[in-house]
């Protein structure tokens, strides 16, 4: 029997208290809402305070144990080390399963507190109370798995005074500080709109009021998710040394799936707000988004799928699968029950209208999500039915998702110029004149710089087409609204579109036109490749307590040296390559050092990747983030979608 230290006991007690508080919070909110009992509902804020305090305390105790190198904890033995630099040591808390579940608890408790604060004057309304009940129930579940199968406060083997430290890949770049927390802010944030959707179904308040309540939350969570995914791509590019940003790895797919359904929702919800259509669909999308975060966590944290991110085997698989099943079963039963009330009063009259375009957009997103989900779980299905292992790789995803992406670019160009409710075919050719000009210019520029191949050229042309459409909207909005033409859902949304287009075009360019070659370098001899010269200056070795690294100093075009390296983390026995990148507006030169390499040998083999337009990938993401912020900033109107005739006329003036 392992003796638990005071820290371990404290941590576990806090988690248990958090679970109990969340459970009773859910209970009080649900009972109060059901009986319409103000007295019971008055207890709810107290439980919010307790769960938040417990979540913060549990996380703080864990951080404290990590910072003080408290090796009495099993978790600290696994990911802690006396040699880990302070920054990576703080991040070590979320570098493995138990700590990342703890972070989930912290973020979710934060969202519960934020929701309760934001709704503090409306706590008595059944819709709000039920939404809090749902959020408390989810929080109780995560407290429970953190207390049970994924407990970070387990007692460790006695007598251990040092550990291996976090996975070397997680102590190589400052991005590990930001990528997981931001991703979790997005992932977990999807609980808020889900809770309100379920609450709307339970209370029967399926009119559109709850949508207005949650729209900003959804957009903010979506923005965090976008940023988190992009930071993951950046980390992959800067750290992993294969020069790619996306590998269709199961964990990447797990974060992409809720992003896809969330994006679909952000678009289709406008159809509901404006026309009262697609109600079942919107509720389903929110439920799907939330369930996919649970399913993704199950797939990647239970050990059923292999992935660079799959931390370790653990027993939380059955728990998460049960949670997924319960969420899906309850949600479907609610939709089944309330289906009648969700009936829309109107229908989409013509596909050539704004709502028609959103419908097509949603079909595309649904297919996209299905393809990604199928590719991710297909190996499991085959394994279950035929007992053999198989890998679904990049070709599958590329073949199916590239056509979807190209079609989406086309819709992105057309949809913003279509009018609501009316058949817009008559005015289409006139309104698409500017976007078409953009498309032609983009295509011409691409051909001029020597791009070839039907798919990339199509991507560039359609990218120009869509960008033209977005910029046309923005130009008109600025003319009518001045600086406010950047703010609000439609205008901010168009800025997000510009970011998306930049990302798409950069991906098309970098995936289609990357050139790479292995080059053997000898000190003092220049080698040319793709119009650049590479000269080895020296091979140097550096040692510290936790690692020894060899780096090759390579002068690029006679300029300052770049230093791709291989670092051996001796405690773990892993070699980690560190690429060195020169970034310019047009292309990146990405250098990796290839093993084996010896110090003082005067030679080294490097691999060179020339990757066009990578910078624009990050610029595009930044633009998306800015657009998201602008989209959630309040506009002057009370509601963006009131049918106020003046504003409607203005909208039409911008569209026309």
């Amino acid at each position: 029997m392992l003796v638990a230290s005071a820290t371990a006991q404290l941590g576990r007690a806090i988690l248990l208290a958090g679970f109990v508080a969340a459970f009773f919070g859910a209970f009080a909110a649900a009972v109060g809402a059901r009986r319409n009992d103000e007295k019971t509902l008055r207890f709810v804020p107290r439980f919010v305070v307790i769960t938040t305090a417990m979540a913060v305390a549990a996380f703080a105790v864990m951080e404290w144990a990590m910072i003080t190198r408290d090796f009495s904890l099993d978790y600290v033995q696994k990911v802690g080390s006396r040699g880990t630099p302070a920054l990576y040591n703080v991040a070590a808390v979320w570098s493995a399963l138990e700590g990342s579940i703890l972070m989930w608890v912290l973020v979710l408790a934060g969202y519960v507190a934020a929701t309760a604060w934001w709704m503090r004057r409306r706590m008595q309304e059944p819709l709000v109370a039920w939404a809090l009940a749902v959020m408390f129930a989810v929080l109780a579940f995560f407290f429970l798995i953190s207390y049970g199968p994924a407990n970070p406060f387990g007692a460790g083997q006695p007598g251990i005074t040092d550990g291996p430290g976090p996975n070397p890949l997680l102590q190589n770049h400052v991005l590990v500080m930001f990528h997981p927390p931001i991703l979790y802010l997005g992932y977990v944030g999807m609980t808020v709109p889900f809770a309100f959707a379920v609450a709307a179904l339970i209370t029967g308040k399926v009119e559109d009021g709850w949508l207005h309540l949650t729209r900003r939350w959804t957009v903010v969570a979506w923005g965090f998710l976008t940023l988190g995914i992009a930071l993951g791509g950046w980390w992959s590019y800067e750290v992993l040394g294969w020069s790619g940003v996306w590998a269709w790895d199961p964990v990447e797919n797990a974060s992409l799936l809720p992003w896809i359904t969330g994006t679909a929702y952000i678009h289709s919800v406008m159809v509901q707000e404006r026309r009262g259509l697609l109600r079942v669909w919107n509720v389903s999308l929110l439920i799907a988004t939330f369930s996919l975060t649970i399913l993704g966590t199950f797939l990647t944290r239970s050990g059923v799928l292999n992935s660079v991110h799959a931390f370790s085997e653990s027993d939380i698989g059955p728990w998460l699968l049960t949670m997924f099943a319960v969420v899906v079963a309850v949600s479907l039963a609610l939709i089944f029950w309330r289906g009648d009330q969700l009936r829309a009063d109107a229908r989409v009259e013509t596909i050539y209208s704004r709502e028609g375009a959103f419908l097509v957009n949603n079909v595309l997103f649904a297919v996209f999500a299905f393809v990604v989900l199928l590719g991710t779980v297909f190996p499991l299905i085959v394994e279950a039915l035929q007992n053999r292992q198989l890998v679904v790789g990049e070709p599958f995803f590329d073949q199916l998702t590239i056509p979807i992406g190209l079609t989406m670019l086309f819709i992105m160009a057309v949809a913003p110029v279509l009018p609501w409710r009316k058949d817009g075919r008559g005015t289409l050719s006139q309104r698409l004149l500017v976007p078409a000009a953009f498309a032609v210019v983009c295509l011409a520029v691409a051909l001029l710089v020597g791009a070839g191949g039907s798919k990339p050229l199509l991507a560039f042309a359609l990218g120009g087409f869509a960008a033209g459409s977005a910029l046309r909207h923005l130009a008109r909005a600025i003319r009518v609204q001045r600086l406010r033409g950047f703010v609000g859902r439609a205008n901010g949304g168009m800025i997000v579109h510009v970011g998306v287009i930049l990302v798409c075009v950069a991906l098309a360019a970098s995936n289609s036109f990357t050139r790479s070659q292995e080059i053997d370098l000898v000190v003092g001899r220049k080698v040319s490749f793709a119009g650049h010269t590479f000269e080895l200056i020296d091979v140097i070795e550096q040692r510290d307590a936790r690692s020894q690294s060899v780096r090759a100093l390579v002068s690029l075009d006679g300029g300052r040296p770049y230093a791709p390296a291989i670092t051996k983390f001796t405690r773990v026995g892993t070699n980690v390559g560190t690429p060195s990148v020169r970034t310019t507006f047009t292309h990146d030169i990405y250098l990796t050092l290839e093993p084996p390499v010896r110090q003082d040998s005067g030679q080294a083999r490097i691999k060179v990747f020339i990757k066009p337009m990578i910078l624009w990938l990050w610029v595009g993401t930044f633009v998306m983030a800015i657009g998201t912020v602008l989209a959630v900033l309040p506009t002057r109107r009370k509601s963006e979608f009131d049918e106020d005739p003046i504003h409607r006329l203005r909208d039409e003036a911008i569209d026309a």
Binding site: G339, L380, G573, N575, P596
Partner: protein, 179 residues
């Protein structure tokens, strides 16, 4: 609305099937790791031991072969050493005992000799000076342990340090499969 109800039912059916698949998939719960080489003939390996004897994997057919990728500075390699010594001792007492080889990963002959002199272990240590064996097997991180059957097919890959009894149990399972 009819569509909502039919949709909910259909979704329920599909997801139930999917959840069923997740329940039956045993996943990677066992110690073995995935590799495209599993079930395939092992890569041809010719090298020398640190005592300058030649080694050819092709000549080892007829026996179970265990490769352990090793580096004397890596902490988990050191940690698993006593378990390996026990395993090799148990195998050498069998008539069909497995042959055990350490594949030296990015380390000098002298460092390896010093390590084995200090910690025991009297089996051949193979040189892999240019990393070709590690590359052929797809080894990025030591220690890794691989088991190759008497027909020369790769049967098991274990990532990381092995604990006491793990290799014994895995090899026993493989021997049962082979019969």
């Amino acid at each position: 609305m009819k569509f909502a109800r039919i949709g909910a039912l259909l979704t329920a059916v599909v997801l139930t099937a999917l959840i069923g698949v997740f329940i039956v998939s045993d996943g990677d719960g066992d110690v073995g790791a995935r590799s495209p080489l599993l079930g395939q003939p092992a890569p041809a390996i010719r090298t020398t031991t640190i005592d300058d004897e030649t080694f050819d994997l092709g000549h080892r057919k007829g026996s179970w072969v265990v490769f352990n990728f090793f580096n004397s500075t890596c902490v988990p390699c050191v940690a698993e050493h006593s378990s390996i010594v026990k395993f090799v001792a148990a195998e050498s007492s069998r008539t069909d005992g497995a042959e055990f080889y350490t594949v030296v990963n990015d380390d000098s002959d002298s460092a390896v000799r010093d390590f084995f002199a200090a910690n025991g272990g009297d089996w051949p240590k193979l040189r892999d000076a240019d990393g070709a064996i590690a590359v052929a097997f797809g080894v990025a991180k030591v220690p890794e342990t691989w088991i190759i059957d008497p027909n020369g097919f790769v049967r098991l890959r274990i990532l990381g340090a092995v604990a006491d009894g793990v290799l014994e149990a895995q090899l026993a399972d493989l021997r049962v499969d082979q019969k």
